[in-house]
Symmetry: D3
Subunit: 64 residues, 6 copies
């Protein structure tokens, strides 16, 4: 009954890419721990670059 | 001092329904563990169906 | 497909009390949003009072 | 390699204030635990007042 | 700068299996979104079966 | 009503250091956003180095 949460910056990930993340994470849990795919939930959070910090500054600032 | 996080897909839950979730979760902690209602925080996250996966596909896809 | 996370301080909640929290949160989602009980996951985190702060001090300190 | 998540109600925190939260949390981890700033991630979640409950009612309701 | 959190029930996942989850999640983010592996954090939470509920009962109870 | 979650590897942070993190995070929210200290919750999670990955390997492995 795994639950996977993937947080990424909101940068235009497409519906197809998000579908691949969901499929890939579910497959990973099945391959490594034999978890039934039906029981795996995946939640993707897309975070505004202004709200994600690394090294003490926001990703928005980092990319300027 | 409980903290409750409820994640649901974003499907048009109304303000009244969300108020019921907040009230219900707070009451639950009071009833079962005698937690003072004033000390319970509840945060509801509404997740885009495209960003929630189950069984390896997004909920958006599941519902097609 | 709700996911509920309940964080409480580790204070000796019994197996029965935790079962009531699981049942109660699942019922709440069914009652308010008609979510199928089978699709609701509940995860309870019991946090060391030394690791939970409120008002700027740990709950362990608060209780002294 | 710390990860800090700050949840606040969505109340018009400015870009500058969020930058201060990121800087402050990163500094805190460096000062207290000597964590390299480059290794600290900070994610700020701004939660709709309708989706945040305290004392059994939403913050939106509390503020009326 | 992705952050991935994997929650599983505590069921004796080995060090090697957990290393595979870390490697697999990091590879997934690189393959799908070209995220630099060095920037991906993965945190695995192993949850007591007594603290994880599905369908209104704990996983511990489900398995009896 | 802020909620702050700090995740660090379990490396022997002392009770005093954790108290400083709680105090520091609470002060930060007061200083930047004028949040009343009494309303800020801080939860510290100490994660086994075997369960935290960066760059595709566990922190435990990274430190060997």
């Amino acid at each position: 009954m795994p639950y996977v949460n993937i947080k990424i910056t909101r940068d235009g990930a497409t519906k197809e890419q998000k579908a691949e993340l969901i499929k890939g994470a579910t497959d990973l849990l099945e391959r490594v721990l034999s978890k039934a795919p039906a029981s795996t939930y995946v939640v993707i959070d897309e975070v505004d670059p202004e709200n994600w910090g690394a090294g003490g500054v926001s990703v928005k600032e980092l990319r300027r």
